[in-house]
Symmetry: D2
Subunit: 286 residues, 4 copies
Amino acid sequence: MTMGEERYRLLMACPDERGLIHRVSGVLAQAGANIVAFDQHSEGLGGHFFMRSEFDARTGTDARIRKDMESLSRNVPMQWRLTKAHQRQRLAVLVSRESHCLQELAWQTGRGDIDADIAVVISNHAEIGELAQSYSLPFYYVPVAKGQKSESERQILDIVANYQIDTIVLARYMQILSADFVSRFPSRIINIHHSFLPAFVGANPYLQAYRRGVKLIGGTAHYVTEELDQGPIIEQDVHRVDHRHQLADYKRIGRHVERMVLARAVNWHVSDRVLPFENRTIVFPI
Amino acid sequence: MTMGEERYRLLMACPDERGLIHRVSGVLAQAGANIVAFDQHSEGLGGHFFMRSEFDARTGTDARIRKDMESLSRNVPMQWRLTKAHQRQRLAVLVSRESHCLQELAWQTGRGDIDADIAVVISNHAEIGELAQSYSLPFYYVPVAKGQKSESERQILDIVANYQIDTIVLARYMQILSADFVSRFPSRIINIHHSFLPAFVGANPYLQAYRRGVKLIGGTAHYVTEELDQGPIIEQDVHRVDHRHQLADYKRIGRHVERMVLARAVNWHVSDRVLPFENRTIVFPI
Amino acid sequence: MTMGEERYRLLMACPDERGLIHRVSGVLAQAGANIVAFDQHSEGLGGHFFMRSEFDARTGTDARIRKDMESLSRNVPMQWRLTKAHQRQRLAVLVSRESHCLQELAWQTGRGDIDADIAVVISNHAEIGELAQSYSLPFYYVPVAKGQKSESERQILDIVANYQIDTIVLARYMQILSADFVSRFPSRIINIHHSFLPAFVGANPYLQAYRRGVKLIGGTAHYVTEELDQGPIIEQDVHRVDHRHQLADYKRIGRHVERMVLARAVNWHVSDRVLPFENRTIVFPI
Amino acid sequence: MTMGEERYRLLMACPDERGLIHRVSGVLAQAGANIVAFDQHSEGLGGHFFMRSEFDARTGTDARIRKDMESLSRNVPMQWRLTKAHQRQRLAVLVSRESHCLQELAWQTGRGDIDADIAVVISNHAEIGELAQSYSLPFYYVPVAKGQKSESERQILDIVANYQIDTIVLARYMQILSADFVSRFPSRIINIHHSFLPAFVGANPYLQAYRRGVKLIGGTAHYVTEELDQGPIIEQDVHRVDHRHQLADYKRIGRHVERMVLARAVNWHVSDRVLPFENRTIVFPI
């Protein structure tokens, strides 16, 4: 990057048509941008077009680019978004008893492997506070009493608003969020499910996997939608098990799969590498 | 192996109790056997015990071992089996239109990577005959006309009997076998299902996987039981896919996963490395 | 693709500078092209820029694109190449005793998984002829007598010329080609080495791996350069081994790794997805 | 485990001969042991025999087993070892600037995923002290001044003696230990090397890997012997990279491979699952 420049990211999704790359790269060329990454996916004419570009341009050029993109979008029904790479996303991490995913996220955000900040940790288990404290992270204990879920969710909403949260990460948060809550954060809540979805939806996936006698266990990071465990999948991975592994081993091995899968998904999400489309995701990973 | 010796395999499953390894290894020691492989799995007292041993012993010693195992099994309610390693299993391979799994099995049995012989190929598609012929394998065209399934199954049963088949391999055979047929071959029919079971049971698993937007596609080799795609899993594997892959790519990539998974499962089965138990398998792989 | 259109591929490599994507996509927009794939890699200003685009355009438009690319390259010192996707590359497959890689290539080209044709098979082992014949592939037996290597290479050159070969694949060909031979086919000879390079360069890599006690064995497909096993790597993969595996098992397992790695590398190469640069490769895989 | 019982582990290595399993399982049967795991590996007559058994027996029975094993070993030149499973090994973790491996070990020992205790952390970088403290681990800063290596090693030896250390883990410790130091701890020092050995021995393996253009990067955990990076390998793993990954990405991705590989190796080592033999290891993993 040259002095006086900033790094930007431009995301775009629209019906595919001829000349799109030329037109959008024209906007960037006019702004004197230097493109450092340019990924696109096209379903072909009649389908959709998706693009992510990362580029360096003089500070302030974003105003011009915004204007030009607005012009462009007058003719093509497109969704687009321009972000500044140095503006790190602010995460709220929700966690229940199992702390390994929080730990991994604290660690990777702390050392810069994930380019985001954990702004606040929220748990329905008070003892998580100690771990949050050891990483100097603000912590809120929000218990979920029977029949008081909406009250708990209201508290969480307040915290999320106060801390100006960009993305909510359910890092083994074992409460099911209401449809109302979820609908406020489209493609902004990421969950880790401890199975290879769509196998073993719902409760106790490791026990389900053990009973079915599978030879690989997995983890799935996905955007949360109103239907449980049905949202667009961002990342999945698996690990081999065999007859010697008991349920406790499934959980031990699975913990490592879960935290790696979730960390990758969050990393891609906060660097604008994930474009949800219908119930799938386009991911331009690094 | 010394001159005048043969290689044997002894399989055993029974409720676990103290001293089992000592007693069964005593049977082998008495017979002057040299154990070259000894695998066991114990669930602990109150659970089950599984064992596989491969050993060299003088030809004819098997009579003595059988007698001693019978004595042993008078006190412990066990299942056991003694086989001769050089007696290669005889396979019937059933296949529909997709020939890649047949091809892999023909190849690996042909070059000795799988220690078994394809004794006969059966298909409901006549054009498979040409491929069978290119490997000099006996071929039977058994069409499955609407409402004539039981007639077709009768023909298959005759062929299987005539060719003295040990194991039936469904190598992308797209017909559902009747419960009556299946019940005649307990743990002797192996199927390859083109998904990571239990995800995407039934028809068109790749299309199901594509629609769900999974990031890994898989294949599952399992014993066939009366319930579709519910039998004990022998082996599974997966391969990564992303948004660039269309349904045709899923099928192309999946073909390679399927044939590798099926070949491994058949290889372990014919070398007595798979012990089904309830709806799971104990596999001692190589 | 619309009636009257063809699919083309445009490859490009040059020093990175601002506006490149806009200019090259301009050439395509002017030609009325519909871009179906667009991959680029930039090292940033001061580094290099690499691009691959696949697009549909009216038959004959290629003349115009060529002219425009020539204009473009007058200002930027670039290498570029325009190919027609339907013109399948013609392969010469060289093989010694081990036939599994030839078999895999014959199979995958035959069923269209690799978009190329094996035009001729050449071996220093006469018995490979039978396998070539079973796939109806022209076969030449070119023995390599001691001290007669240059004569053998001359024969191979003649065959390669006669069959208008695009790419030579060394599918477990155990002869070392002379520097003179290699220099005639820059980035047009692909070799499979049966180890995870740069570990175990040279002869008997599985024996070397066995002796070192590694826990993973691998295969490496690379372009052949004048230095043995030192050319740009296209693809690598590994498989787990443990203490139970003897040298014969390494070879058995390795065969499956080798043929998959080589098949992927050839597939990417013939669809113009591999751009060698210095001693590395940029690969835009599918 | 029944009341009044303890879990033991018996390890054994000797030249293979007939009847070994029967004799050693006889020792256990006489002691009234209940075998819960029994793994063996035989190279066949003329080769070696390796065994690991885990069993429950009445507290105090170990005296009898020791006596019987001594008798047994009078006739067969064997090495054997009996350990109590509940006696957790005490680890000294040596680390330089990069703390991720220490962090993973602290975490996994802390939550019981690795059945051992970090008794002390030693570093030639003072700032590691803070991390050690956050896990309440004793910490020693032992700088290595130029020409003062032997003095530093003397300090480390003192600490290791004082803390009654069973195993030394080099968790990205960038100092080369002297042959004299190493020879005091045969098969008791584990190192993580940040490459897929034997590729990229020595300094800067990620830079070496980057320059060679490999498609997979790896990590290797091995016992330390007097020759640098040449000791018996315990565990290895790899992760895919491509042209988009810069050296910093290699390091970021590699960190995750390294800590997982090292954690698995330490886990197997402390649960007596690794038997080094010549320059290889027999590993009975879980």
